[in-house]
Structure formats: structure tokens, C-alpha cells
Amino acid sequence: MNKWIAFITKRLFYMVLTLFLITTLTFFLMNLLPGTPYQNQAKLSPTEIQVLNEKYGLGQPLGQRYVTYMGNILHGDFGISLQFSDQKVTTLIGSRIGPSLQLGIQAMIFGTFVGIILGSIAAVRHNTWIDTFCSTFAIVGRSVPNFVVAVVLQFVFAVSLRMLPIGLWDGSFKYTILPTLALSLSPMADASRFIRTEMIEVLGSDHIEFARAKGMSELRLVFTHGLRNALIPLVVVIGPMTVSLMTGSLVIENIFAVPGIGEQFTKSILTNDYSTIMAVTVLFSFLLVFVLFLMDILYQLIDPRVRIGGMK
């Protein structure tokens, strides 16, 4: 038990340290970006830019701004967005993260689920046409950019067959189907490749041969012994993949007119919207670090080989 507490405390400490370093580094790097955060800078005179800098506290020395900023975020104040004149950054993120989270999670669940099935079938039918088909599917899924898939899906299911909406977002499920499918292709391909490789290895191992010799049914063999062992390495990649899916995709959001967060991050960098860059970076890093922390714990639980205190 004590070992667990020590383990978690250590991990939490590293988490905070990582976040601190990311925030600090981003803050200073971001200020190296050329230009101003004022979108009308093409028409502003240097004096006007100075006046605006003073209003938005950008006139102070960088070090002082850093100290103020860190103090503010500790109080939950992430500042105001300059891209969306005077809107709080927290409002911006709050209004945009929902659809991205929903699509990301749906895509992750659906993609991984289908990927596991495809990977398992491929492994069981190793070196047959089914395996070739599943592997080809995985390669295509990994290499074709998701915006191409999105355009094709939109054309087939919305424009031609008129089964689903072309785009837009009103919160109902049918509007999420096509973007989810487009986003799910990459986790599907990854999961299927991982499962296939691991499963082939596991199914060829001695303990499986032994179970088979004892007369265990093939189905049970695959699902209780094979899949369980094959899932372990998948857990490692699923975490970061989920975070990258949840944080939105610029192209998918634009193609399906989804009010997600994906574009805001890119746009904030292009427009020097300092507060948004910082807030979104902090949010993304927090999610990533937190998920990695969860994965570490989960890994301890599912893989006896790395368990704290050794195997029991």
C-alpha cells in the first residue's frame, strides 16, 4: 500500500513539474512569434499598437508578464482572447470543447472496438485472404488522410444517398455520425495492427498450445487468453491517441461545420492570440499528462510483470 502511495505521489509531482515546464516554455516561445495579436495591424499605426499593448498589458517586460500570467492561472484566470475581442478564454474553450470531446470519444470507442475485431480475425485467420484484407484495410486507414475520408463519406452518405446530414451541428446524434466515422479510421487501423501482431505472437505461445491441448474451445482461447494478453500493449497507445482525438481536428471540424476546439488552437497561433495559445496548450498538456498518469496506473493493474513490488 505504501508503495502505491509513494508511486502515485511521485507521478503527481512529475505531472505538475511537466505542466510547469510546458507552460513556461510555451510562454516564452510564443512571444518570439513575429507580429502583434491585433488582426487589424495592417491599418494600425505604431502609436495605436502601443496604446493597445498598454490596454492589454502587453507593454510590460516579458519577465513581469510571465509572473503575472502564472499568478493569474493559479487563480483560474486565463485572460481574454484577442481573436474574439474581449471574450474570456475559458468561455471560448468551454463553448468549443464539448463537440470535440464527444466526437473524439465516440471515434475512439468505435475505432478501437472495430479495430480489435478486425485485428483478432486477421490473427486467427493468419496468412489467409481475410488477413490480407484486414491488413490492407489497416494500411489504408493509416495512410489516407482523414479529410479525404471525410469528403468521400460526405459525398456518399449525405450528398448522394441523403441518409445523413451534410454537416452542421445541433447536438443530435445524427450530426456526429460522419465526423465520428472519419475520425475513427486512424484508431481503427492502429488498434487492428497492434492486436494482429500481438495476437499472432500470443496464439503461438506455449501456454496457448497447452490450453488447446487440454481441449479448450477456439473461441474461448482467442477471447479469454489471446485477446487479454494482446490488449496490454494497446493500452499504452490508446491514451495519447484519445487525447489527440479529443482535442479536435481542424479539417474535420471545417468539413462538417462542427463548432470544435481544433481550429482554435491553430488559429490562435496564426493570429498571435497569446491567451488562447497558452490556455489551449495548458489544457492539452494537462489532458495528455493526466491520461498518461492513468495509463501508468492501469498498466500496473493489468500487467503483472511491471507491478509494483513484483509479481504476487
Binding site: 451541428w169 471545417n254 461545420a257
Partner: protein, 550 residues
Amino acid sequence: MKKMKRILALAVSSVLALGTMSACTGTGTTGNETGGGSSDAPKVLNWFAAGEVTTMDSGKTYDVISQEQVTYQNDTLYLIDSSNKAVPSLARELPKISDDGLTATLTIRDDAKYSNGDPITAADIVYAARRVVDPATGSQSAENLNFIKNAQDIVDGKLAPEELGIKATSDYDLEITLSAPSAFLNTSLSTTLLSPVNQKFVEEKGDQYALTADNLLSSGPYILKGWNGTDISWKYEKNPNFWDAKDIYFDTINIQVIKEVATGVNLYEAGTLDGVAVTGDYVSLYRDKPDLVTVQTLRMTNLEMGISSNPLLQNLNLRKALLFAVDRDELAKSILNGDGSPAYGVVPNGIATNPDNNKSINDDFGKLVYTDIPEAQRLFAEALKELGKDSITLRLVTSDSDESIKVGQYLQSAYETNLPGLKIDLANVPASVRFDEMMSFQFDLALGGWTGEYDPASYVKQFEASFPHNHAQWKSQEITDLIHSLENTDGVDYPLRWKHVKEGNQYLIDNAVVVPLVQAASSALVNPKLKGYVTHVLNTPIDVTRAHFE
């Protein structure tokens, strides 16, 4: 790998093309479902915006998208009609100008109200104006009120906002003191920056003012609903308190932000939208259909030269060679797909006409820039000789948008082909980086542009010695004198102003201070049943506030 990419590109473009073609030949449900109907049914228009709104505060808008949204909810003293003339809206008639041209007086309607029922008075316009120039507001458009006395000094923090040259002499009478006699006062007064703002409401809302639909008051035809600051869809409902409500046809206008043109076209063809902005290939695809509406704008796309930063560019023959070696027709037609027309000079066509004979800019100023490859080659050879060089390399910086990249590549190929010995290094960078290079006057060539005001002089002014955006840092007494006359002594003598603008245009081309390329246009697909919209060369390209379905 390259082959794979090509195959992929081919596959994607075929799918896109197929999608569009099937959409175009369609099954007959072309975007008319919301049109017509019985007279009792609510009249709804499903319109578009090209991006999110940066601000709904009428005192702060600076971009075309927000500018358009603000016009739905804010009445202005004057409206601009499709011939760029101001017509009274909140003001009863055009302003009366004093003999010295420095004071304008006008009366506003006494029956105008905000959406909450509060009366609109002249004091609300004074408050709005002071708010814009007050540095505490942080408006990025404050310079647009520079025509009012003391505006610049207030923006620069030297004077208090109360010193602004605008006052209410009664509940409905305004007196505006101008910085200089202005020939374009009426259009300057049409800005939404001078839309009435209810001081009591603004102070009550504090820092929440204009951040959401609930924190706004409407003085215009529509009331904003369902906007929470960062949305990609919202709507307008007819404002029953608007003085001209009887002329407003639509009960509701739904706005959807469309960033992906292909998606927008699909939604338009499915009847979900009554209009959508189109660019590039879609403009050509819809070329002969009644849906396509193309509006010429006053945006000039120019190849700017860092004359102060690169000594080579101080050679007139080299600059002239650059001026004559580009085929602007090809650029406009093939590269921009008709999203623009060839530039003839520095001042855009359509901004004004000759006050004496009503001739257009292009007809009256003449085609000063054109393609003449042999002449360009002769000038280039001359330049090489004068500079004592065999070849010249220039760096061309463009933004990294699709269109800028395409134009940059076209210029690179045109110059390198037409002027052997000239090498163009292309740099596609984020817009802010390009701005930075141009504003620090450290660049060779840059793909830039300029959108001025309704006053043609604003296009000559960009090359005036002390102007902050004189990227070339061209300093000439001729332009300084012309701008001085235009701003201080020409006043409302329109023929004289015209003569001076014409001289400025001629001077800038004679000295090849800039290489004008194209005058931009913006295109949209619009439900052919929609009538009564007004097209504008500046700000909102297609204004649907007073439009109706046939």
C-alpha cells in the same frame, strides 16, 4: 512516393468534382425550399458567414465578417447604396456643411428606438463616437474617425475623449467639427462606428457589454439571438421597434459559419442555405448559372517592393521591368478563376467616376499597367547593365494561404521565364510574418494589398512619405504635396481632387513604386429568388438586411 501523391490528388479531386457536378446537375431541389410559401408562414433566410465574429460591438469591428454582422443590428446615419452614395437612414437628410467646410450639422429621426424601447437621441451618437476613440475601449478601428477633429490626439492619449469634435445641440441635432474639409464626409458618416450606443445600457453591462446576444441592444432592423461569443451559428429576428420595420421582409435570418467551400456548396444545393461564399474552381463551375453573384471590391492586390531595403530595387528600370513582365489577364482568369480583374493602375476601378464626364477610373486614368514582354526584357537588360550584374535574385514573400501561394508561384514563373537572369526565391510564410517584414521595411518583394476608403485619395496616400504603411518607404515631394492638397486645400472641389488623384496614380506608375496586379472580387452563390439585396465594394459584399424573396 510522388506518384502515390499524384494518384491520391487525382482521386480526391475526382471525388470533389463528381460531388460538385452531381450537385450542379442536381435533382431540382436547388435551395428554394425556404423561398416563397404562404404569406402567414414565417419568412426565413438561411444565410452564411465566412468565419466567426470577432466582435459584435459596433465600436470595435475591424474585419469584414464582423462588420457585416453588426449592420444587421445597428442603424447608421446613412446607408451606402450600390453606387457608393450615402442615403439617409437614421439621419433625416444629408449633412449641411458650413462655408469653411469644417462643420457639419445634421438632424436624426425623432421616431427611432432601440430594441428595448428606449428612444435614440443625438447624445447616443456622441457617446458612440467618443467611445471608439477612447484608448480605454481598445478599438482597432479608431483611425476611421480621424475625419472628426481631435480624434487622432485622443487615440494617441494626448486629449480626453470629451474633446472630440462632435456634440449634440439638441435631442436630435448633431454638430460635427471636422479635421479638414472632407469630400467624402457622407460615406465616412455611414460607418457603424457611429451607430447609436445606449450609454445607460453599456454602463449597466460593464465589461460584459456585447459579449453575448443578451448583452446587446439593437438599433437596426434585426435583433441578435443565440450568440454566445464564439459560436458558428446564430440568428437574427426582426426588430419590431425599428423605425423602418415595415420595409424589413424577413422574420428570421439564420446565419451559419461556413469555412469549407465544398461543404457550403453542398448545403446550398441541398437547400439548407440560401447563399454561400465561393472561391476558386467553384466560381468557374457556376460561371453561367443565375446563382453566381460576383461583386467587385476595392481590394487591390499588389506586388510591393522594398525599395528602401534593397538597393537593387532603387533602379527604376528594374522596377519597370517587374511592372511590365506580368500578364494580369492570365493571372485574373487562370490563376484566380475570375475572382478579380486586371489592375490598370494604383486606384481601383469603380471607386468613383470623373465628376465632369462620369468616366470610370479605368477609362479616364487609362491602362497604365499592361504586359509588354519585349519592353520588360529591354528594361531588365538595361537595369543589369546599370547595376553591373549578370543576374539578380530577389526574395518574394507571400502569406501561406492557398491563393497567395498560387499567385506567388505564378509571379515566380512569369518573372523567371520572361526575364532571363532574374531569379525569384519564394517564401510562403504566415500572414503575421509577412506583415512583420513589410512593417519593418525589410523585404525585397512582397505580395501585399490595400483596401482604402471610398475616397480614391486613400490609394495614393499609401505611398506618402510619413504614412505608416508606406512599405516601400518611398519618399517623394510630389506625393507629399498631392496628399497635402487632397487633405487640406482641395476640399469639396471634386474636379480638382480628381485631377490630383489622377496625377498621383500616374506618378506612382511612372516611377514604378508598386506593381499593381489585380482588383479583387468576391463571389457567392445566392438563391435566384432572393431580390433586393445591395452589393458593396467595401465591407459587406452582399447586404441582405432589406432583401426579400420574389
